[in-house]
Amino acid sequence: MGNVVISTPGMPLPSEKLFRKQTLVERLRKGDEAVHLLTMAGGWSIILITGLLVHHLWVYSRIARHQFGWHFLVTSTWDPVNGLFGAWPFVYGTVVTSLLALIIAIPIGLGAAIFLAELAPRSVSNALTFLIELLAAVPSVVYGLIGIFLLIPALTAIMPTFQKFFGWIPIFSGTFYGVSYFSASVILAIMVVPFIVSISREVLLAVPIAQREAMMALGATKWEVTWRTVVPYARQGIMGSVFLALARALGETMAVTMVIGNVAQVSTSLMAPGYTIAAVIANEFTEATGDLYLHALIELGLVLFAVTMIINALARLLMLSVRTGEVVS
């Protein structure tokens, strides 16, 4: 720590004491203050929206919360007729499909981003990036249809052979109906790849040329420059793109419900049908009668919010540990 004076917008600079105190109008007229207020309003609005969201989810789920307490999270029964509700199969399905989707999407997305940013000629890179950004704008119902008409028939065709060799592994065992955790994960992976590619590419392109030149000067190969310098430099941005992809996967509704089978059960096998939180809300909300049923569905929304927060926090912790590890080495 040196003798540097740190100033924040709220704190007057020491030299300011010499002048008379400015009125608010004067400060606003200079522009800086106005921009400060405007941007601060933007920032606060996000907190406000999030706060209102959580507040509403909390208030309108109270009957279910009081009735089931923490058991709601660990119970597997979902029985609207008898008013028994548990979220576990949906939480499980949401987490499993999202994580599996990321496992599939990260290598593909990152590979494509590195190719587009580092290796491909600029014209090819720009054309492909345009196409990828188009993919991100395709409505999810279209991905669902692709799942039903292309992916599931293809998976159904190859699965018997696949299961002959790998069926003994619990996660690949059991009867494959086409609709499954696995099919949902593959569709989700296809949906989130464009996010990873287009953001990661931008971040990779923004890495200063000096970094590359320094590495080259040390005699590194092109791949060493990319993998040892450019990618680590852009790591934070790449992680950001993965978070965005994760958020999309966790909340995706339409495409998932079309290919997951909508069965409220927990299965070790990825080949079995399942259910996700977003899918069950979309499926049952319109016809839900009775306060307890409605509140249980809204509580699922609250749970999804919590799941998203927890996974994001864990991912950030992971990133933090990776970064400190890097510094030490």
Partner: protein, 340 residues
């Protein structure tokens, strides 16, 4: 300036005299094609009345009606006593049920090599959906279809994943024919299914059936007629195997008319009658007994009367079964209860 003000005043007065009346309703998606057709036909006859119907689902329709944000509701399953009491308490008015048309569920299946229209006993359908009957060549199915060679394959059961009136009718029927279903699963727009995969909407269910060999599921009669889907006959309470059609569905309503309760909240699954199709159901309009706005009230009453009488001719082209005339008579009597 004064002249312009006068012109404005005249415009304002004239717009009051030819006042537009707008009725809003919400609910059943099943009945949406019918009500939107009614709305446009009625608007041609009465240009000053506009009926806006939003197909947000029966549950949503009931909620909106209780909250008082719509003038009328529409549902595929009758309101419960608790919901009626809640409406009485919040809106200060009773809610009356008026059947407007009929629908039905049909068992649709995909068995490689079988193109015949299969016959199903109630025990077979309940057994399949409870998970007791697991093979297509089970004696309960085979004995009803002596001429058909059924495979020894596992049955894949498909049901709706979204809450719907179609599911309500299907499980209501299973509850009536199977005590075990009634005690273990029960009746609702969504239930805890003992077995099976869920498809979203009729198209989701029929899509799964098409893709999965040896599967069975239930879809709306309307959907199967419009999409030429293969479906089976079901044995009714008289012991006849009946194929679902608009005529046999109306026959079920006529058969159930003898025990129609005063409030019309009736289930007509497994209804008596030689030609009655057993998995039939009404769809209802939900009309408040009192409305505060007299103009709206009069318009709503006229619209309802028109729908029950002249409007019935629009049911068949849309593949809904029309009401039997005996039921229409009872409903016109019931309309006298409306306090406007």
């Amino acid at each position: 300036m004064i002249r312009r003000l006068c012109a404005l005043a005249i415009l304002a007065v004239s717009s009051v005299s030819a006042q537009q009346i707008s009725l809003t309703g919400a609910g059943s998606t099943f009945a949406y094609p019918l009500y939107s057709d009614w709305a446009s036909q009625y608007h041609k006859l009465h240009p000053n009345v506009e009926v806006n119907y939003q197909s947000i689902g029966s549950g949503g329709g009931i909620r909106q009606l209780i909250a008082g944000t719509v003038d009328f509701g529409a549902t595929d399953g009758p309101m419960t006593n608790q919901e009626l009491a809640e409406a009485q308490q919040k809106r200060g008015t009773a809610i009356l049920h008026f059947p407007t048309a009929l629908g039905a569920d049909v068992p649709s299946y995909n068995i490689p090599g079988v193109t015949a229209e299969l016959k199903f006993t109630p025990q077979a359908l309940a057994g399949i959906y409870l998970g007791h009957i697991t093979k297509w060549n089970d004696p309960e199915i085979q004995k009803a279809n002596p001429g058909v060679k059924l495979p020894a394959a596992n049955i894949i059961v498909v049901h709706r994943s979204d809450g719907s009136g179609t599911t309500y009718a299907w499980v209501d029927y299973l509850s009536k024919v199977s005590p075990e279903w009634k005690s273990k699963v029960g009746v609702g727009t969504s239930v805890k299914w003992p077995v099976g995969l869920g498809g979203k909407g009729n198209e989701g269910v029929s899509g799964l059936i098409r893709r999965l060999p040896n599967s069975i599921g239930y879809v709306e009669l309307i959907y199967s007629i419009q999409n030429h889907i293969l479906y089976g006959d079901v044995k009714n309470s008289s012991g006849n195997y009946v194929r679902a059609s608009l005529a046999t569905v109306t026959a079920a309503a006529a058969g159930a008319n003898s025990f129609m309760p005063a409030d019309f909240r009736v289930s007509i699954t497994n209804a008596p009658g030689a030609q009655a199709y057993p998995i039939s159901t009404y769809t209802w309009l939900l009309i408040p007994e009192k409305l505060n706005n007299p103009q709206k009230a009069a318009a709503l009453k006229a619209f309802l009367r028109w729908g029950l009488t002249d409007g019935q001719k629009y049911t068949t082209p849309l593949a809904y079964a029309p009401l039997p005339s005996g039921v229409v008579q009872k409903e016109l009597q019931q309309m006298k209860k409306l306090q406007y």
